[in-house]
């Protein structure tokens, strides 16, 4: 029988933070491909959670809620990233002498993993679905509910993402023989 929880039975913020940060961070990092931005997303998501925590009675619901927030914020980031990428291409094409700073070098090296590079090449729609499947451990129904799409759509997107990754890996000839 369902029983309504009393407010003091809700999980404490520290508890939620400790148990969910690894998942939320992993998802943020895999969607954005950048550790610093992943930290920004986590910061914003947990601040929002802190304000809303009275409405989320258990860790599972907090997890969906946080992942949904991360996904929403990451969408804004993705738009910005596309704009910056275009600007960067113009900048490079203008043939200006550009030297990478030490800090930039470290960030670039951190995201230099082949897998992350391959994920970055996926269209955002496919990347998010696959990341939620593989790194958040969600099933099709849960992913569909977070993204507001049907289970059938999730199924198609997961497959297309895998299909594209197979091609990318093959091109890199690193993993797939």
């Amino acid at each position: 029988m369902l029983q309504r929880k009393k407010k003091n039975e809700y999980p404490r913020f520290e508890e939620v933070y400790r148990s969910l940060f690894p998942t939320v961070f992993r998802v943020s990092y895999r969607i954005t491909g950048d550790k610093g931005i992943a930290e920004d997303l986590c910061h914003e998501a947990f601040i929002k959670y802190y304000e809303k925590q009275g409405l989320l009675p258990d860790i599972e619901q907090a997890k969906y809620w946080l992942i949904r927030v991360v996904r929403n914020i990451s969408l804004n980031y993705e738009k910005r990233r596309i704009r910056e990428r275009k600007a960067y291409t113009r900048f490079k094409n203008a043939d200006i002498d550009y030297e990478e700073s030490g800090e930039e070098k470290i960030i670039r090296e951190e995201t230099d993993g082949m897998v992350q590079k391959a994920l970055d090449k996926l269209p955002y729609k496919l990347r998010v679905v696959l990341v939620l499947k593989e790194y958040a451990g969600l099933n099709y129904k849960e992913i569909g509910s977070i993204l507001g799409i049907s289970e059938g759509n999730v199924k198609i997107r997961v497959f297309r993402a895998r299909e594209k990754l197979a091609i990318i890996f093959k091109e890199g000839e690193q993993y797939v023989s």
Binding site: Y29, A38, C42, I47, V115, K155, F159, F169, Y175
Partner: protein, 186 residues
């Protein structure tokens, strides 16, 4: 017949219900091509999951400190009192609303009629017995009241209490004074 890529991918994720799950399982036992397709999908999953991921512990501490700083900052610049949100439990809200309704109800029941009484005239008659009768009527009907009292056979003395805040203006000459003057003139 071989399952399509989407179905095979969903089979890998354990998203195919029965009886299709068993059907695919049996098909894979006999179809080398589908086994290879499934293997490719499985390999991608392994690559994704076994990839190096940045250590989250450092970020966890960093973000925790940032959250604490944000909270301190937010607490130090609290919004002015009229902009603050106040959470009122539903039963308390209903209780307060009911109490206000009762107070206003009582106000209309007692105070408003009392205000109307200021425009009423209270008339006490002392009949032959010791019974006291109180009559209240609008001030506009005063003449009519007096007439009705005249008809009452028990009235001896009539006391008319006018509202305390009534103001009277002298218009014309009181009849009694005029009568006196007429008498003197005679």
């Amino acid at each position: 017949m071989c399952p399509d890529g989407e179905t095979l991918s969903a089979y890998l994720d354990g998203e195919i219900g029965e009886p299709w799950n068993t059907t695919i399982q049996k098909h894979l036992e006999t179809c080398e091509r589908c086994r290879q397709r499934l293997k490719t999908l499985q390999r991608i999953d392994h690559i994704l999951l076994e990839d190096y991921a940045p250590d989250y512990l450092e970020s966890m501490e960093k973000v925790k400190r940032r959250i604490q700083i944000t909270q301190v900052a937010e607490n130090s610049i609290r919004p002015p009192i009229w902009k603050r949100k106040i959470a009122v439990p539903v039963p308390l809200g209903i209780g307060v609303a009911a109490l206000l309704a009762v107070i206003f109800g009582l106000y209309f029941l007692f105070f408003i009629p009392q205000r109307n009484n200021m425009r009423l005239v209270r008339i006490k008659t002392e009949p032959l017995g010791s019974t006291e009768v109180q009559v209240a009527a609008p001030i506009e009907d005063i003449e009519q009241l007096l007439k009705s009292l005249d008809k009452s056979q028990f009235s001896k003395e009539v006391i008319i209490k006018l509202p305390g805040n009534s103001k009277f203006n002298m218009i014309g000459e009181p009849a009694i004074m005029r009568e006196t003057e007429i008498y003197r003139g005679k």
